[in-house]
Amino acid sequence: MTTESNSLHASQLRCERGNRTLFTDLSFHISSGQLLQIEGANGSGKTTLLRSLCGLFEPSAGNIFWCQQPINADSMGYHTQLSYVGHLPGFKLDLSPLENLAFAQGMLGQQPHPPALMSALDNIGLYGFETTPCRALSAGQRRRVALARLLLTKTPLWILDEPYTALDRAGTDRLNALLVQHLQTGGLVILTSHQSVNLQAVTIQRLALQ
């Protein structure tokens, strides 16, 4: 994890979906150690906002800066800094958690290190399911596979779309611990959640989409 300070800054974003304007003139700024929770009713544009922040969706107006640089100026560089966990699983159901994680790590250009992968999976609560095909996992176990990626890729910026979905209480606690640790080592987190998020010793910024 980097010790220097990172920041994400959005200025006057406007997003539209099929003739409807979801939000306009939306700005925020977060920096290392901060967590931003995006709130809003169903269909208010949370997912669209997160995807814009990743560079997957192009806002109709406004700019997004990572450490003062527009994110599309050096999108590959930006992608080394970013982990996104969306509504969709983001991994292959036909592979095992271990294979999926090795793939995720390999895609960052790192040599996968099986013991590290195994311990990441144990850590997230998938002990005993490391080599089961993900198709045979339950909803919450699949969610954990998606989250396990965060443990490995070691990027400063995490963008999480409803990460608590399908997790049981133990899973929620583990995720919370993970977030706290990430923030304390200088990470940034942006997440959406319909439940209230409570983290020890972390102040949570909230942004509500109308």
């Binding site: 997957l56 930006y78 996104y84 969709l88 036909d94 592979l95 793939f103 895609m107």
Partner: protein, 222 residues
């Protein structure tokens, strides 16, 4: 970066050949598809060897096209494609890697089977070697052109039919040169011309297709 691309390639191959037995399934598939045609004929028909070349080439076109959907659609639907787009490497290269995987899965088995299929259709030796050479040059082009089509249609519901409309017309030149060369070679003619031409098509497709695919994928994922 090499490592990342290699990882992607390995994953796609792993998905295709999850079990050792699946390695031979594509081979059997070609054997069945190619042998369908002679089954539709009566024994007394004068089935010319050259028709075998056309049958094999058409099977290659269809096999390549049919397996196209798997190149991006599954990845799109489970969100893996998003993750690939978010990886820190040039998208055209990532696309090229996926195309390579597709070719290894759908093209190579055909090249491997070609001599056997050629024998089944009584092609002369020159014809068989022409078949192998043209398939080796032509099948990658099929995967490359096809990839553009899938990337464009991947965000649409059932792209199947639309895809074949986009892709098959572009396949036709490859078919004509490929099957034509086998024909010429069997008659003892030189096939340098068509083979060079197919090489040129391949180089062109190799340079342009990945860019087009990358652009199309970005649009599809919005």
């Amino acid at each position: 970066m090499r490592h990342a691309l290699f990882t992607l390639l390995k994953r796609d191959l792993l998905l295709a050949f999850r079990q050792p037995s699946e390695l031979i399934n594509p081979l059997i598939f070609f054997l069945i598809v190619v042998s369908l045609f002679p089954m539709g004929l009566k024994p007394e028909t004068p089935f010319l060897p050259m028709m075998g070349a056309a049958v094999i080439w058409v099977a290659a076109l269809l096999a390549s096209m049919l397996s196209l959907d798997s190149m991006f659609r599954a990845d799109m639907e489970d969100g893996s494609l998003e993750q690939i787009l978010l990886s820190p490497w040039p998208l055209p290269l990532l696309a090229l890697t996926k195309i390579l995987a597709h070719w290894l899965i759908s093209g190579i088995p055909l090249v491997v089977m070609a001599p056997l299929l050629g024998l089944m259709f009584n092609l002369p030796a020159e014809g068989i070697s022409a078949l192998v050479v043209t398939l080796l040059l032509g099948t990658p082009v099929l995967s490359l052109i096809g990839a553009i089509g899938v990337a464009l249609t991947v965000s649409l519901r059932r792209g199947g039919v639309l895809l074949s409309l986009l892709v098959l017309p572009l396949y036709i030149p490859v078919l004509i040169f490929g099957a034509g060369s086998v024909w010429d070679a069997s008659l003892g003619l030189s096939i340098r011309g068509p083979v060079l031409f197919m090489g040129a098509i391949l180089v062109l497709a190799l340079t342009l297709a990945p860019l087009a695919v990358a652009g199309a994928l970005r649009i599809s994922l919005e």
